[in-house]
Amino acid sequence: MRGSHASCARLTDETRSRLFREVVMPHLDDAFVFARWLTGNPTDAEDVVQDACLRALNGIEHYSGGNARAWLFSIVRNTTFTWLARNRPKTLVLTDDLESAARDASTVMETLTPEAQMIAQADAALLQASIDALPAPFREALVMREFNGLSYREIASIVDIPVGTVMSRLARARALLIERIGKEMS
C-alpha cells in the first residue's frame, strides 16, 4: 500500500490509514453516487471508486486540510476519466468545444416549454434517459448539484472552472432536461 516516492516515507502506514478513515471514508457514499452517474452503472462505479480511494490513500499527504469531499471528488473524477479512456474510449467527450454551447444556454431556453405539471409527471426511466443523454460536462455538474448536493464553489474547484461556468452548465443541463421531457411527453 505504501507508495514508492519520497514524500510517502514521512507518514507511517498507521497515520495514513487514520487520515484515510477521517478524510475519505465519510464521503464514500457520495463518491459512489457520483461515479455511478459518470460511468453509468454500479459495477463500473465500484471499480472506479475503489481505484480512486487507493489513490487517495497513497496520496493522502496531498490533502491539505480543506474540503475533504471536494478533494475526494477531484480524485474520483480523474480516475473516472482515466478509466473511461481505457475502457470506453468512445464515450469520452472533450469539454472545451462545449463551452460555446453552454454560453448560449439562455437563448435555447424557450424552444419547447412543457408545463411544470407535465415535468412533475416525468417517470424515473425518462429522467434517467434524459440525464444519460446530457453531454458529460453538463451531466457531471447536474449530478454534483442535484444528487451530491455540492455547492457551486465546490463544483468549480473540482472541475477547475469559474463559478459562472458552473452556473451556465447547470442552466444548460436543466434546459436540456426540460426540453427533452417536453418532447417525450407531448
Binding site: 484515510f20 474540503n67 424515473a124 455547492s151 464553489r153 436543466r174 426540460i178
Partner: protein, 258 residues
C-alpha cells in the same frame, strides 16, 4: 458572483440552488413577481428539481467495497487512534481556554468538565436558544442546507425531510465541538427545537442524558454520529429520533444520496 448583473436565467439557477445572498434573493423574487415568463420557467425548474429528488433511485456505496477499504486500512486500530487524537485536542482546547482565562484553578475545573461531548452540545444548544434565532441559515429546504454547509466547512451530513412527520427543518448552524467546526441541523419539535449535531466517525456520548431538562440522544449512522439535543420532553425527542432514523435508514435502503 454579485460583481455584475447576471442573466436572469443564471440568477434563476442560483436562486434554485440556494446560492444567492439574502438581498439578491429578495431582488430575484421581486423580479419573479413582475415577470410571468420568468416565473413559469422557475416553476418548471422547481418541478424538475422535485422530480429528480423524488423519482431517481438513490444509491450508496456497496457494503463489500466499504468492507474492502476498511480492511485495507486496518479498521481494527481505528478506535484507539481516534480516541488518542480527541484526547489531545480536548487537552489542547482546555489548555488554550485555561491560558486565556489565566487562572490555573479555572483551568482545572474546565478540564474536569471536558470529558463528555454532551456538555458542549447542551451548551451549544442552550446558547442557540438564547440567541435571536437558533440557526445561522434559515431554510426549510434541505437542498439549501447541504450546500450551505459545504461552502463553509468540509462536512455536509445527510439531511432528512421530516416536515410530513411534523418536524419541519428550521435551518442549520455551525457549532464548535472538540475544537472543530461541526454541522448542526435544527428541526422544530412541537414548541421546542432539536439541534442535531453530526460528528464524523464514532463519538462516545453518555446515552440519553438528562442535564437540567436537556436530553441528548446519540445515533451512529453512515460515517456520522448524530447527536440530538433538545429541551423538549424525552418522549418527544424519542419520537423525533425515530422519524429521523427511519428517514435516513430508508434513504440507505431505497438507496440514498443527498
Amino acid at each position: 458572483m454579485n460583481d455584475r448583473p447576471l442573466d436572469p436565467h443564471l440568477t434563476l439557477q442560483a436562486a434554485l440552488d440556494g446560492e444567492l445572498d439574502a438581498a439578491s434573493q429578495a431582488a430575484f423574487e421581486h423580479q419573479l413577481a413582475g415577470d410571468p415568463a420568468l416565473a413559469a420557467t422557475y416553476e418548471r425548474h422547481l418541478a424538475l428539481r422535485r422530480a429528480l429528488q423524488t423519482r431517481m433511485p438513490r444509491t450508496s456505496a456497496p457494503p463489500a467495497l466499504r468492507a474492502r477499504l476498511q480492511a485495507a486500512t486496518g479498521a481494527a486500530i481505528a478506535t484507539p487512534a481516534r480516541a488518542q487524537r480527541r484526547d489531545f485536542m480536548k487537552m489542547a482546547a482546555a489548555l488554550a481556554i485555561g491560558i486565556g482565562l489565566g487562572g490555573s484553578a479555572t483551568y482545572l475545573i474546565l478540564q474536569r468538565r471536558a470529558p463528555g461531548v454532551d456538555e458542549a452540545l447542551i451548551a451549544n444548544h442552550r446558547r442557540a436558544l438564547l440567541a435571536g434565532t437558533p440557526v445561522d441559515v434559515a431554510s426549510n429546504d434541505r437542498h439549501n442546507v447541504r450546500p450551505w454547509f459545504d461552502t463553509r466547512i468540509a462536512i455536509s451530513p445527510p439531511t432528512p425531510d421530516l416536515a410530513t412527520q411534523g418536524f419541519p427543518l428550521l435551518g442549520a448552524r455551525i457549532d464548535v465541538v472538540n475544537s472543530a467546526p461541526a454541522p448542526v441541523l435544527v428541526y422544530r419539535v412541537g414548541a421546542h427545537v432539536v439541534s442535531v449535531t453530526a460528528l464524523p466517525g464514532d463519538v462516545t456520548s453518555r446515552q440519553a442524558d438528562d442535564d437540567a431538562g436537556f436530553h441528548v440522544l446519540p445515533w451512529r449512522h453512515a460515517a456520522f454520529t448524530f447527536l440530538m439535543v433538545t429541551d423538549a420532553e424525552r418522549q418527544e425527542l424519542t419520537r423525533f429520533a425515530d422519524a429521523f432514523k427511519a428517514a435516513l435508514a430508508n434513504d440507505a435502503a431505497a438507496p440514498p444520496a443527498p
